[in-house]
């Protein structure tokens, strides 16, 4: 197992390096330097580029960047918050995104799981139909539609929840973003949970377990759910990363200072360092989650672990 993890980590490091190099070249070939504004002259721009070392050849810049990165220095922002070290910018923003993303995933998967199981147990009942309707709505509408609708009706008309994110009442002000982001994961989880549970419930070993007279709770939790979880975890993993890295539009609607909106403004403003840093964080998170999922597989289903070690 350890050997396997070590191998995966090494490949991941190389992957991240390649990604950074590719992005670095791409960013620098984009039209527009970070320092170009309606009012800037060429001399000033040259001055600025020299100040930040952007006038050096690309490989040198990349080398410098990597060297600094190893010491935890992601450079400074050129535009979004001029001269602010990016590590600080990220330190402020990442927790917000992770928090809302995790809340959404947890809410979504818990409700989705319950819905899916209930629907599977009471097939073709009104519960089943409503679960299907919800999951269908959840995948059919983009999350910003829910966000807009909720902020208008719940936030504005009814005035139950704050319209905008605020650090002083983080809990209340993240309720609406969390719910609107959770729909998609809820719908996906519900769909998979239902199919899997129907499948598992119909299998021979469940029949056997049932006939042995185990309590239905144990039957469901230990024998049923455990087997249904694998595909759910598979779809949930990338979704989690996606949600944790922030959703641009939902962030915009609720004025959430997350990394989704940071990334898009950084791309639009050509704030190279910020783009690189955000992508780096995303990649690390993605790879880490994927690794965690693989390990989790083994916990859920020992057969998978064996297969991996063989291979």
């Amino acid at each position: 197992m350890l050997k396997y993890i070590a191998k995966r980590v090494m490949i991941s490091v190389i992957t991240i390096l390649i990604i950074l190099a590719a992005l670095f070249t791409m960013l620098h070939s984009m039209p527009g330097s970070p320092f170009n504004d309606e009012k800037i002259t060429e001399v000033q721009r040259a001055n600025l580029e020299a100040k930040y070392g952007l006038d050096q050849p690309l490989p040198v810049q990349f080398g410098n960047y990597l060297k600094a990165m190893l010491t935890g220095d992601f450079g400074v922002s050129y535009v979004i918050q001029k001269n602010m070290p990016i590590s600080e910018l990220l330190r402020a923003r990442i927790p917000v995104s992770i928090r809302i993303g995790l809340q959404a995933v947890i809410l979504g998967s818990v409700i989705g799981l319950l819905m899916g199981i209930l629907a599977a147990l009471k097939r073709n009942s009104p519960i089943d139909t409503s679960a299907t309707v919800i999951s269908v709505i959840g995948v059919a509408f983009p999350s910003y539609v829910f966000a807009m609708a909720m902020s208008y009706f719940i936030g504005f008309r009814l005035g139950w929840l704050p319209l905008l994110y605020s650090t002083t009442e983080a809990m209340r002000s993240t309720v609406m973003p969390t719910i609107s982001l959770s729909f998609f994961s809820m719908a996906t989880v519900a769909r998979f949970a239902r199919t899997e549970m129907v499948d598992v419930m119909g299998s021979d070993y469940m029949l056997l377990a049932d006939s042995k007279g185990i309590s239905s709770f144990r039957l469901l939790g230990v024998h049923g759910l455990r087997n249904a979880l694998i595909p759910i975890v598979t779809v949930l993993a990338p979704l989690t990363v996606e949600l944790m890295t922030g959703s641009l539009v939902v962030e915009q609607i609720f004025a959430i200072p997350g990394i989704g909106s940071l990334l898009v403004s950084a791309i639009q403003f050509n704030d190279y360092n910020v783009v690189l840093a955000v992508v780096f964080v995303y990649s690390v998170m993605f790879i880490a989650v994927m690794l965690a999922v693989d390990i989790l597989y083994g916990v859920i289903d020992p057969r998978i672990r064996l297969a991996k070690e063989d291979g």
Binding site: P31, E42, E88, L90, G155
Partner: protein
Amino acid sequence: MKILKCLIPVILVLSILAGCGSGAASEASAVPEADSQAQSATAEGAEAPGGDYKVLNVGRMSELFDMDSTIATEADCLEVIEAIIEPLFVTAADGTPVNALCESYEMNEEGTEYTFHIRPEANWMNGEPVTAHDFVYAWRRLVDPGTASEYSFMMEVAAVKNATPIISGEKPIEELGVTATDDKTLFVELDRPVTYFLNLMTFPSFCPINEAYATEKGTEYALGAENLLCCGPFYMSAWDVGGNTYQLKKNPTYYDADNVKLDEINFQIIKDPQQTMLAYENGTLDYVRLSGDQIAKYETMDGFTRIEEGYLWYLSPNLNPKSEEYSCGLENENLRKAIALSYDKDVICFDILQDGSTPADFAIPNKLAIGPDGKDFRETTGTYLQTDKEKAQEYWEEAKKELGVSEVSIELLYDDSDSTPLIAQFLQSEIENNLPGVHLTLKAQPKKSRTELMQNREYQLGLTRWGPDYADPMTYLDMWTTGSTYNYGEWSNEEYDKLIDDANDALANDPAARWEALKQAEALVMEHAVILPVYQKGTAAMVRPGITGLAFFPVGVGTIYKDVDVNY
């Protein structure tokens, strides 16, 4: 029956959703009581003596990029800098400069030397007095090539001695024509008299910076509220790193603190205009800018305010394409005129934008500058390139003959900010309909890329804007001289260059003649259709009734908060 069956689950879903919402809300309302109403009135009860604590909540569209007065360029940043660190003068409601940190000043006869006496009672918040040395330090910092400030050219505009060679690195910063005679006396030498020098002094780039403090903070200076030393009516009390809020509070040590009525200003960044308005309506925000369609809705409400802006939006044709790729016939003057006359500017301003923008039949905006005769520049000049669709067709016929073609296709470059996409689409439809044979394709780019393409002259026709930096027509006319970076179309005209040269130099001591030269220069630009003006931007805002003293300006700093009072 079937339909009913289908409806049951839907209703179920909705009730679950509603249940979710109400459950969360009731649970949460156990936290501070009546929070939403209290929020706008008193953010921090502890600091609200007698409930007379006055707060203004402002909605913003973009982040606060920078608070270093020598680096900042964005309008939002300049406003905040002006509120926390005052320059020598500030703009009064009528647009004239009034004393701020400067108590009195003398000028020599030629207008090339100024002596400013700084208020003896003006202090930084750490108790140190604001001195002439602070100005010298800040001004040198502005022109220092090491700072690489985008606004260093303001020092050249002000014609402060040696500014140009210092910026280009030919002279050391110590040779800048500004010296501290003593702690409270600032002496400035100019290369030539500048009629609008005092107006320039209201610009935040000329704010003082406490040298000891800035040196101590080093690269951290102005990065965050705790790294700023203020001397203005307010100080920065909070600025979340990368966050969406920042906050100013009243500066008790300000020399004129008795006249500052506001205790706190909260700024909230919301990029979604829809949400901004909801937040205004439910009382979270008190002063917000309106955009696009919303104006029709709020126009008749109390608190609707029109703000004049100096921005001129215009089409810039590429007159000197560097390669075939960027050539499309716009080198032809008649084609340019045909296009300039073919679109209905009234529709753009009054139907599409509705924000108080006005049709532009000129190159120098309204209410930008007042001449030696005491009248606005526009009052004594003509109008040019007015919409005239028939005339446009005549020009187009002419152009076709001269170019020897029956059709041209032109790519219109624009950025995706705000209402620009609508304008671009309207222009396309108008030009194509009124000039049969002219085909326009649209190319949208993020603003940075759009500017870059235009500065590299890699475009055909661009929709762009220019905002004035100081109250003189020169802030625009300087653009179209040969070799200017902003002369996107690369127009070159000897007569024009000479007029601008004279206005800057030979005629500097004869304001009336200078004014005439500027008028002629504008006429030249318009007659050759170097730019095709579209509209002068206006803005509409909602200012909660009960707020007084918010002052808006088309030039320089957009909003001044010092005199704001709130009585809801």
